[in-house]
């Protein structure tokens, strides 16, 4: 039997379950990805290994964009992003990473705002 492909591209996000209205809280997002820079060559054939990175990250809260980032080839494998946000009302945060090939990875997290 050939080696099984175990996908590890399930993104992980961490936000506090409860946050205070208007107060900044930390958001953490980690995803497993090779982030192939496009600068490397195959050791045996010398052929250029095509670039394949996550080039875009967007975080929304109930559909409203709160952070957008453009990632470049110098970003390491398994990119980890952390940032601060604040919310006025409870809602669902959605995280989306866009790959060079157009595919996307996404994750969701619910936050409850306490008065």
């Amino acid at each position: 039997m050939a080696e099984q492909e175990h996908s590890m591209d399930k993104p992980r996000v961490k936000v506090p379950a409860k946050v205070t209205r208007g107060e900044p809280f930390e958001v953490k997002a980690l995803v497993s990805h090779k982030m192939e820079s496009g600068q490397r060559q195959d050791e045996k054939t010398g052929a250029k290994i095509p670039r394949k990175i996550l080039n875009r990250f967007v975080c929304t809260l109930d559909g409203v964009e709160i952070l957008r980032a453009t990632l470049h080839p110098a970003v390491s494998a398994n990119p980890y992003l952390s940032f601060y946000a604040s919310a006025e009302q409870s809602g669902e945060m959605k995280f989306e990473w866009t790959d060079d090939d157009g595919s996307t990875l996404s994750a969701r997290a619910r936050i409850e705002v306490e008065p």
């Binding site: 039997m1 080696e3 175990h6 590890m8 992980r12 961490k14 390491s76 494998a77 398994n78 952390s82």
Partner: protein, 264 residues
Amino acid sequence: MIIARVAALVLATCGALSAFADEGEWGRYAVDGRRSGYTYAASETRAMQDDEFENPGSIWLAKGEDLWGTVEGSKGKSCASCHGDAATSMRGVGARYPVVDEKRGKLMNVEQRVNLCRVGAMGAAAWPTESEALLAMTTFVKHQSLNMPVSPVVDGAAAPFFAKGKAIYETRRGQLDLACVHCHEMNHGNMLRAQRLSEGMSNGFPAYRLKWQALGSLQRRMSGCMRDVRAEPYPDGAEEYVDLELYLAWRARGLPVETPAVRN
């Protein structure tokens, strides 16, 4: 001029001494003068390891947890079918291994034990060395002993394997004609180009290595050292690596299991 040089030398020696004398600050990461690789890592690297979420090894850990409950093979079993909750059944394994399998008369590390279960009890294919799945499972199993002191058995049936491991550790090899001992016992703390030589402790493996941008096994790390002294590494899965793993575990005795550690 000569006096100035002597003074400089004395100062340099004092500096080196104070760097090694002050071990209390490292808490559980230093035992009887032996220090985990953690204490040689940059503070940013240590912070990355300490944060359960930020530690990139957590990706493999989560995968291992998934695989623990995944049914595979002709016998319709998962790891959990026999071993139940890993937090109980696997506790201590990572601190104890490698151990001698008396029935087979063989020294066995966690990777080999996992594959033995897969082939025998599950009727599934063995995972290849250094495959994502085997790394994830080994990490998950060892992580159940997090912070427990490394405590391998090196006498009795394990004695001959331990002796072999020690001999390998002390044997010069490669074009640079160096043994493990020359860097990791005689020169730890000194710089090797831009890197500070550690004591070569194994308590954090499998570990996420920033250089690899991935998690890797102890065997992969040992092969790297061998290539660095321009020696031919042993073939994948060689017994010599397991013998060496036992000797390294003994060197790291008392240090906490850190799997998955983050290292340069």
